[in-house]
């Protein structure tokens, strides 16, 4: 039994992979093994080949792409190349990042049947297997639902069920929560934890936000920028030794590790190793409450010279196809204010932002921008004063080069060529894209695209910038750069309105937060006060930011000690 446990189930030897039109290999001499029943976290900066590795492991590559694979991958001692088409997928399953493009059928039941049919499961057994898999991910009531009516979180659970129905030995998760709200991603990790407890299944996890995953993983594999293995070892050891390096590479660290690291730098964390859990972190502080003050990165409220209202919404309602998407919402944004909008998926955040940007007209109510009703603004004028950044940066690209992209709106305003050049150069420098000026916007990396989409807005002298979940699925570095850009905007007197699921951002940057639920405003005020309103947090499926959670933990530990003393 012991012996069997120690036998690897998947092994790569000298694995290298190169895309056909690129000289440099994306993976270089990757060598690692996966053991039955363990969960391994695969970490690395963007572009380090994490997804490529995942696709090589279940034989999607090199078949689906023009590329060259060197070295060997073996599953239970048999080389992957020896498996027939589709054969390995029975043993190694994968859940992808995008919930929209993983399915080919219209209903939940049919989608599960599709995979089982591919595996030549006898038709009379299929129904039982479908029910089993749906039960595991708590989706059984949705068996006959149409897939496009499910929420993003439910779609990812369905994708998971599809894989689990085939009873694989290995499950690869390629950023499965990147597009989900905090509550849905938490639920997905809980389901996986349950599954891992009840079955012998090996997990290989690629993720950005690690907090929910850390206590589930046994080992970490870290890739560096060159696609080589930097480290293989236990999770604790990994973050202990490489925290700074990972941080430098732009990888998100688990919150406890990050807090421990900054605590160590400030000289207040005295633990021997960096903490993985909140408990370890707290015990490492001599004075936890004092440490909180130092760790709290909430920015000081930026006070504008005068409290001028730039945008105000009065009793906005919006209905479409008989549904009330927005109901009676009023609020205002002041000059130099950072306002966050939060709420679960489908609560009307995007619809509200579109109304505010003048992209659709409200059914009832008024929007005043610079003291003038939105409907009285000329389109051209409005676009020069109010900007909007879409969730997917690609949607906004209209020019053939990065330079032309930023110059576009300046050209419309008929600014002299020399001035345009100066302004564009400055903008490119600010977002660190000077080297890419001649490239096609579509060929940029994900982070670069995001920065470009924001830069093309900021080049106008905007009074208000609205952003729709701009930090979704971005690595730590891109996220940081983006927030820095927005900070500069605020300091120069602009206002920012941002839809986000990221509670850390709200805590650190927002002056005010609006919470929506089913088209209604259920909270409007300071973030600090929001964290204490349990009921609202629950309805809107929000989670408290890490520092707040830590404060609660410290409080309850202190309370218990007091109790023990008396």
């Amino acid at each position: 039994m012991e012996l069997q446990h120690n036998r690897h189930i998947l092994k790569t030897e000298q694995l290298s992979f190169r895309y056909e039109d690129v000289k440099k290999p994306i993976l270089k001499d990757v060598q690692f093994s996966l053991y039955p029943g363990e969960a391994v976290l695969l970490l690395g900066p963007s572009g380090s080949g994490k997804s490529t590795l995942a696709f090589c492991l279940n034989k999607l590559y090199p078949e689906a792409v023009d590329g060259e694979l060197k070295g060997t991958i073996s599953f239970k001692g048999r080389r992957l190349a020896e498996f027939g088409p589709g054969e390995i997928n029975e043993y190694i399953g994968i859940v992808f990042q995008d919930p929209e493009s993983q399915f080919c059928m219209t209903t939940v039941e049919d989608e599960l049947a599709f995979g089982l049919e591919n595996m030549k499961t006898p038709p009379e057994e299929i129904e039982r297997k479908i029910d089993e898999a749906l039960e595991l991910v708590h989706l059984l009531p949705y068996k006959h639902s149409l897939i496009h009516t499910l929420s993003g979180g439910q779609k990812q659970k369905l994708a998971l069920a599809c894989v689990l129905s085939l009873k694989p030995d290995i499950l690869i998760l390629d950023e499965p929560t990147a597009n989900l709200d905090p509550a849905s991603s938490y639920e997905l990790t809980r389901i996986l934890k349950e599954i891992k407890k009840n079955q012998t299944i090996s997990l290989l996890i690629i993720e950005h936000k690690l907090d929910d995953w850390v206590n589930l993983t046994d080992r970490c594999v870290v890739l560096n920028k060159e696609g080589e293995i930097l480290f293989i070892g236990s999770t604790a050891e990994c973050f202990n030794q490489y925290a700074e390096e990972l941080l430098h590479e732009g990888i998100w660290l688990p919150s406890a590790v990050r807090a421990g690291l900054s605590g160590k730098k400030a000289g207040i964390y005295h633990g021997e190793t960096l903490p993985l859990t909140d408990r370890e972190l707290i015990t490492g502080f001599a004075n936890p409450s004092a440490a909180l003050q130092i760790l709290d990165n909430r920015k000081n409220k930026h006070q504008g010279p005068e409290e001028q209202i730039i945008l105000s919404a009065e009793k906005l309602s919006y209905n479409k196809a008989g549904k009330d998407l927005i109901r009676n919402i009023s609020f205002s944004v002041k000059t130099g204010e950072f306002v966050a909008i939060a709420g679960s998926n489908g609560s009307g955040k995007t619809t509200l932002s579109r109304l505010l940007a003048g992209l659709s007209a409200p059914s009832k109510g008024n929007i005043l921008f610079n003291d003038r009703p939105l409907s009285q603004w000329k389109e051209q004028e409005l676009r020069q004063k109010s900007g909007y950044v879409f969730q997917n940066p690609e949607h906004q690209f209209i020019a053939d080069s990065v330079y032309a992209e930023i110059a576009f709106s300046l050209k419309i305003q008929q600014i002299p060529e020399a001035d345009i050049q100066k302004k564009v150069q400055a903008a490119l420098l600010q977002v660190d894209l000077l080297k890419c000026a001649d490239m096609n916007p579509f060929s940029l990396s994900q982070g670069q695209k995001r920065r470009l989409s924001v830069a093309s807005m900021l080049v106008n002298d905007l009074d208000l910038l609205i952003l729709d979940e701009p930090t979704f699925g971005q690595d730590a570095r891109t996220s940081g750069q983006l927030m820095k850009l927005l900070e500069t905007k605020i300091h120069s007197g602009g206002s920012v309105l941002m839809i986000t699921h990221d509670m850390e951002i709200i805590h650190s940057y927002a002056d005010k937060v609006l919470v929506l639920s089913e088209g209604e405003k259920i909270y409007d005020g300071l973030p600090d006060a929001l964290w204490k309103k349990d009921e609202i947090m629950e309805i809107a499926s929000l989670k408290v930011p890490y520092i707040e959670k830590l404060r609660n933990d410290i409080g309850s530990i202190a309370g218990r000690e007091k109790l023990a003393l008396t």
Partner: protein
């Protein structure tokens, strides 16, 4: 017995055969009677609401009207036909009027037959049936199904791109040249998105072990029974009865190179 329950492939075959038979006749009465009976079958055995049906049917009424109009105005007059009306160069004979009317009725009867199929068949069932009864390769069938899922997504994406470009301050396209440029601007991101999505879906399908293998055991079996053939016979019967009634009243005429 609902029309939804019949085998989709045989239903499609029935519609095709009906259209072929109908095109042999060239009088207005036969297609008109067929139209009435298929529409009635759609409402009674298909449980399709009249509102939904007429919504899809009305563009074809418009089309049929144009057909009739142009056939009337530009009809060639053949010697020995009964004149009804003349005005300048326009002449209208009874025969050409019937010809025009029969053309219009043809369009409408074909439409009602197609609607009967479309409104009572689930696309998924049709594709499954095509694979199971007509040996359509699974690669093609599942490809079409995945594509079908994309259509609403593409529409959504198009709307987003349109407003994204509005935000950038792109002026409204007025001239033809501007419109062409606008189309190009929309197409590139739309196609880039579609290709990326298609690639992802293809990978997801492969990762579930899809190889396009033709030997496939289906979970949802779409069967063929005598009822399906009875349905087939019923609709052929509808046309023959229409033709018979038309003959009784002396209208029946076969197509004889009139167009």
């Amino acid at each position: 017995m609902l029309l939804h329950e019949f085998n989709p492939s045989i239903k499609a075959f029935t519609v095709i055969v009906c259209v072929l038979i109908l095109s042999v006749f060239f009088d207005p009465v036969t297609p008109f009677l067929t139209l009435v009976m298929t529409a009635a079958a759609t409402f009674i055995f298909g449980r399709v609401s009249f509102k939904r049906w007429i919504l899809l049917f009305s563009p074809f009424i418009f089309m049929a009207a144009i057909y009739i109009w142009s056939a009337l105005v530009f009809s060639k007059t053949i010697e020995g036909e009964t004149l009804i009306w003349t005005w300048g160069i326009f002449t209208l004979t009874e025969e050409s009027f019937l010809r025009a009317l029969s053309l219009g009725m043809r369009v409408l009867s074909f439409t009602s037959l197609s609607l009967l199929f479309i409104l009572t068949t689930k696309p998924t069932d049709f594709l499954l049936s095509l694979m199971q009864q007509c040996r359509l390769p699974p690669k093609l069938a599942y490809g079409i199904m995945a594509g079908y899922r994309f259509l609403p997504l593409m529409k959504e994406e198009f709307e987003i791109i349109k407003s994204a470009h509005r935000i950038r301050g792109v002026p409204k396209a007025r001239t033809f040249h501007d419109k062409a440029a606008e189309l190009k601007r929309y197409t590139v991101p739309l196609l880039a998105g579609a290709i990326r999505k298609a690639e992802r879906t293809a990978m997801a399908m492969e990762s579930k072990g899809f190889t396009g293998d033709k030997n496939r055991d289906f979970y949802h079996k779409i069967s063929v029974s005598w009822k399906d053939w009875a349905c087939f016979a019923f609709f052929i019967g509808v046309i023959l009865i229409s033709a018979y009634i038309s003959w009784l009243f002396g209208f029946l005429q076969f197509y004889n190179g009139e167009l």
